[in-house]
Symmetry: C2
Subunit: 317 residues, 2 copies
């Protein structure tokens, strides 16, 4: 099987690693002269982390190649994944090229976090949205939008991912709607001097972040409701939540002052660590968390366990 990666960088590189380490050949097209270096860095992380996730061996790596033009990259590809910067005009142009040169039966996915398939298809391209999460080689979630093609979902499952079919086109799909809500509220808290970036991160990772990693939002609240369940929870907290909601309805101005404030606080928080060191720490923690969830078969751990089962089946002589 061959995957074409259009646009390197952190996300494209993560896709390349996910496919390569699951035995696919990968052809990369990215005019950026730095693309090979960036993708190699992501691959190094992935080769360090992904094998630790499974008690069965991954298949032998496929072949990685870099192409000078898009048509050669997509030739003979089973999956083509576009991960270029989040600019609609750029994505539309590139998907015009991809659809013009892609094999008729290739799945064409876009990593867009915000645009809908309809927006991307303006030029008649047959792209679907396959929105992954960083690091793509470790996090299972892929939001699939604009397709009922079961093949796309089954290919993603075959490389250890979790396709979540988004039934309705909506800006930012599902996960990023939630992230944007938190992002906006967090910008307010920082801008108003209520909390620093470090304090907000502690408020998340010392508390509800530990619940969300395994059960998400509603399941956690179902438990909070106790024996009386979800209705009890909502009867109890719905009214209390209603009031602060109304304070969340303004939008902070996204200006240089705010960007500087957040960048400076982030530097103070973890400027002493290189991004590479932070990536390694993140990945080591993801391995530990995912292995813990695997042992109980919960959420992402169930996906890891299922893929591990397939790996061991394939590795049998």
């Amino acid at each position: 099987m061959k995957a074409a990666i259009i646009g390197g960088g952190v996300i494209g590189g993560g896709w390349a690693a996910r496919f390569l380490l699951n035995g696919w050949d990968v052809a990369v097209f990215d005019p950026d002269l730095e693309a090979a270096r960036k993708i190699t860095a992501v691959l190094d992380n992935a080769r360090h982390a992904l094998p630790q996730l499974y008690d069965s061996a991954l298949p032998s790596e496929g072949t990685l190649s870099y192409c000078d033009d898009l048509p050669r990259a997509v030739a003979g590809a089973d999956w083509i994944q576009e991960s270029v910067p989040e600019r609609l005009d750029l994505k539309r142009r590139i998907h015009g090229d991809i659809s013009a040169h892609a094999p008729a039966d290739a799945v064409i996915g876009s990593s867009t976090s915000g645009f809908t398939p309809t927006e991307l298809r303006a030029t008649g391209a047959r792209v679907i949205v396959a929105h992954p999460f960083n690091p793509v080689y470790l996090l299972p979630l892929v939001e699939l939008v604009g397709t009922n093609d079961t093949r796309a979902a089954s290919i993603l499952r075959s490389i250890g991912m979790y396709p979540l079919t988004v039934r309705t086109e909506i800006a930012a799909h599902i996960a990023d709607r939630l992230l944007e809500a938190v992002w906006r509220e967090s910008l307010w808290l920082v801008k108003d001097g209520i909390a620093t970036t470090a304090e907000i991160d502690e408020a998340i990772r010392m508390g509800f972040g530990l619940r969300w990693a395994q059960m998400g939002l509603f399941e956690t609240y179902r438990i909070a409701g106790g024996e009386a369940g979800m209705k009890h929870f909502m009867a109890q907290f719905g009214p209390a939540l209603a009031w602060p909601w109304t304070k969340l309805t303004d939008v902070p101005e996204f200006n240089d002052a705010l960007v500087d404030m957040i960048a400076d606080q982030s530097d103070a928080q973890s400027g002493h660590m290189s991004i590479r060191a932070l990536e390694r720490l993140r990945d080591d923690n993801l391995i530990g968390i995912l292995r813990a969830l695997k042992s109980t078969g919960t959420g992402a751990g169930a996906v890891v366990a299922e893929h591990e089962g397939k790996l061991s089946a394939h590795s049998r002589p």
Copy 2:
């Protein structure tokens, strides 16, 4: 040391378990005839889970007692924690009683998730906000509002918790501001038929929830920015995020239809499991996640490691 727990239930019971299992005597006051049964259920979970978190033994449990009146419960208490329902009039009345009968040097905390210390002190009570997260016996985070008393923070650290001092009084403090943002957006997604409660939970736990458990929001984005760091991330995604923000500014009507819709979807999602079974699964996963983070000294794992060090020091002959 003695803790007085005013108001049983899931949160009060969690506080009781956190203190008891760290060697404190605990006196409970709750007129609810079911209080003892509810607290016993929480204690069973805590006794199953908390010892697994540390490689050193916890101190021998303190003595648990139930009191028929509030004055007897708070008599001689070093820490008094109020966890009654989220109604301002009720909390004000009870804090009037507590302050009237509490030892002069007792720390008086309220578990309120939404009210500010100033609101609670209307009757002259000397309460501070000490807002914990469920399950209180496992999650380290406690938001401290309205105090510079280092004693409160050091007592919380001595029972394995992480006090986060909130410097400015604000409705819903810090963590619940973020939770409310997600909660509101999630209600929209369900109400509009975009996603079910199960799909939203998958969107969280298969993706960013696994990142937030260890690093939170800003640290994760710092990494996403790559070598160029936080400013690069914000330059890249700020504009893309700006537009969907404007779709997050309406407030869904909190009515029976919405409550029924969510309760029904939650039942379909996990009605096959009892709340007790869900609690045990949650706690087993929290133990696994926290132990994984302990091994890298990250976030809540660092708090666990630090407490473990104190426990082993105390247990030395």
